[in-house]
Amino acid sequence: MRRLGESAGALRRSERGFTLIELLVATTIGMVVLGGAVTVFMGAVRSEPRTASQVSALQEARVAVERITREVRQGMYVVTAGPSDLALVTYVRPGSCGTAGGAAEPCRVIYDCAADACTRAVAEPDGDAPSAPIEVVSGLASTAVFQYSPSGPEAEPSYVDVRLSFATNEGGPVVVADGAALRNTES
């Protein structure tokens, strides 16, 4: 009896590896987990174009904000200070508003935001000879892009806040914001 018992014990100990039940249980759990992962992955794959589009829009917005704040930073004075339109005299690359030369020249830059896009045009400092507006950013959730400090009817803004807001399918809007002080004001 004792030998029989030892033999059975040895048989049990020799069964290293997985039993059918173990494999079934493990596979089932694995399938469940893998299914979840695949679902997530497929969701990510399906949303990738939308995400890529948003990333692209964000990148576009960043470039636009960078461009606007750069021109504000080099600004001399603000001509029009509205929430959806900004006109300021600022330094731009030579030849942008008529005069040729090797150094940046002062021109009037006009940003106008309507519908879901903002356009940019360049004119002479007094507003003459404006160029055709060119779209610089689109897909905006709001055209209230600009804020000023100081603000008010008689105020001469010395700081401009730029805030581009994009609608998203879920949650609140994505906002890219920046601001700059005019560095070439007379005072």
Binding site: G17, E22, A26, I29, Q59, E66, R183
Partner: protein, 465 residues
């Protein structure tokens, strides 16, 4: 006891064995979790790439601006720069492209800033050259993102500080009752008009400051009510007397610059007009006693104090621009006391005037001090017969200017504060618009800022600006 032991061994063996479903399950779960985490991390990195670049770009801009700030600091600290060594403040030499060589790069906040400068000299009305413009280009790189900025700055050397207003003050202008200004006024502080005091001429006050009182008129004749004055910031650059301290005409007193009247009451440098020791004046102090006068034949003088007693006069020769400097109280050895150091005191009926009669021909320039208060006190009390009793320019950005009762001043006044006591008057002079600041400390202040493109500069450092 054998059965429990065997059972215990079996359980222990089961737990110790790796033959269960734990390993494949955990492995699969880990693979799945890592996959999901990888996707999340990848998306996050992609999304934040732009933000990181934005941050680096802003850092690079800040570092580049620090390079410009350093360039301006070096020039503003250097004082008057000799025309032959324009690049001395940055410790380099002029290169073939007309720009000073680049000093060693500066490490600022994890970025490297390099800058180059180009000082530009211009000829002043007296034929001297002064560096009146400074162009600085600075480039900085932070974690691979490069930004370049250019700043053009100008100094007041050779400029007319009275071009827009004949009375200027850093901290404020105060008119006691019945005092009047018949000239444009500008201050960074308030203008206060007491009862019946009048400001006749365009006035500007500091940002957020006000004109208090009812006597503001927009014209010199006090005929047009002025309304609310504009707000603006004025600039009064410090006086640099370093050159005058080395080269001046003080030695002419009293060998060539002669005394008229009682020589024993005139004193300079511890000696009276007769050459005898006199303790009524110390080093570089000039005292002109009552009923005496001194005629200055030179063009540059530097004093610590000047006192004109009643009925005395200090004349300057005709058709010469005369600069009378008042050195800083520290350089004169004065100590900080409760009362300000009165560096110019003019008592009743005393005069400082040029034979030419134009205000711009006599300029009193006060170096002053941030730590020791200095003062100009003019006391006339004369009946005003002619158009101007005192006829000159006083320029002291760190010095308080006080006109006592009944003083009549004609010319330009620029001080830390300007106070007119009762019945004092200030009139503008046509000649004051010909006044210019001599080689003042070249305090460069930016007037043009350009955020440049960062294309490599081939011909000149300011390419792309």
């Amino acid at each position: 006891m054998a059965v429990p032991n065997r059972l215990l061994n079996a359980v222990t063996s089961r737990f110790a064995s790796e033959a269960g479903f734990a390993v494949p399950t955990v492995t699969l779960m880990m693979v799945a979790a890592l996959g999901m985490a990888g996707i999340a991390v990848s998306t996050s990195i992609q999304g934040q790439g732009g933000a990181v670049r934005d941050q680096r770009s802003k850092s690079a801009l800040a570092v580049a601006e620090s390079g410009v700030a350093e360039a301006l600091l070096r020039f503003n600290r250097a004082g008057v720069v000799d025309e032959s060594t324009p690049c001395a403040p940055v410790e380099t030499t002029m290169e073939a492209d007309g720009w000073c060589g680049a000093p060693p790069p500066t490490n600022v906040g994890g970025g490297i800033a390099t800058f180059r400068v180009r000082p530009t000299a211009s000829e002043m009305p007296n034929g001297e050259f002064a560096f009146t413009e400074l162009e600085a280009v600075s480039e900085a790189t932070v974690n691979g993102v490069t930004r370049k900025v250019e700043v053009t700055a100008s100094s007041s050397s050779g400029m007319d500080p009275f071009i827009d207003a004949s009375v200027k003050s850093k901290d404020g202008i105060h008119l006691d009752s019945n005092a009047e200004i018949h000239a444009g006024s500008a201050t960074n502080g308030d203008i206060t008009l007491d009862d019946n005091a009048r400001q006749c001429g365009i006035a500007t006050v500091g940002i957020g400051k006000a004109l208090n009182g009812n006597g503001y008129f927009a014209d010199l004749e006090c005929g047009v009510v002025g309304g609310t004055p504009g707000e603006d910031e004025i600039r009064l650059d410090p006086v640099d007397a370093s050159k005058a301290a080395i080269s001046n005409d003080n030695s002419r007193l009293f060998s060539q610059d002669l005394i008229s009247g009682n020589k024993s009451t005139v004193c300079f440098n511890g000696l009276n007009g007769k050459g005898a020791p006199d303790d009524s004046c110390g080093a570089r102090e000039l005292v002109i006693g009552s009923n005496s006068s001194v005629t200055l034949g030179g063009t540059v003088y530097i004093f610590c104090k000047v006192r004109l007693d009643s009925n005395s006069s200090l004349y300057t020769v005709k058709d010469k621009q005369v600069w009378i400097y008042f050195d800083s109280p520290e350089a004169c050895g004065y100590e900080d006391e409760d009362e300000p150091v009165t560096q110019l005191e003019m008592r009743s009926n005393s005069r400082i005037t040029s034979e030419a009669g134009k205000a711009n021909k006599v300029a009193l320039l006060f170096v002053g001090s941030d730590d020791i208060a200095t003062k100009v006190l003019m006391n006339s009390e004369t009946a005003v017969d002619g158009p101007c009793e005192q006829n000159f320019a006083v320029y002291g950005p760190y010095t308080d200017i006080e006109l006592d009762s009944n003083t009549k001043f004609c010319g330009g006044l620029a001080g830390k504060t300007v106070t007119l006591h009762s019945n004092a008057e200030v009139w503008t002079s046509s000649g004051i618009h010909e006044f210019y600041l001599p080689l003042t400390a070249p305090h460069f202040i930016p007037n043009r800022f350009v955020d440049c493109s960062t294309a490599p500069a081939v011909i000149a450092p300011d390419e792309g600006c």
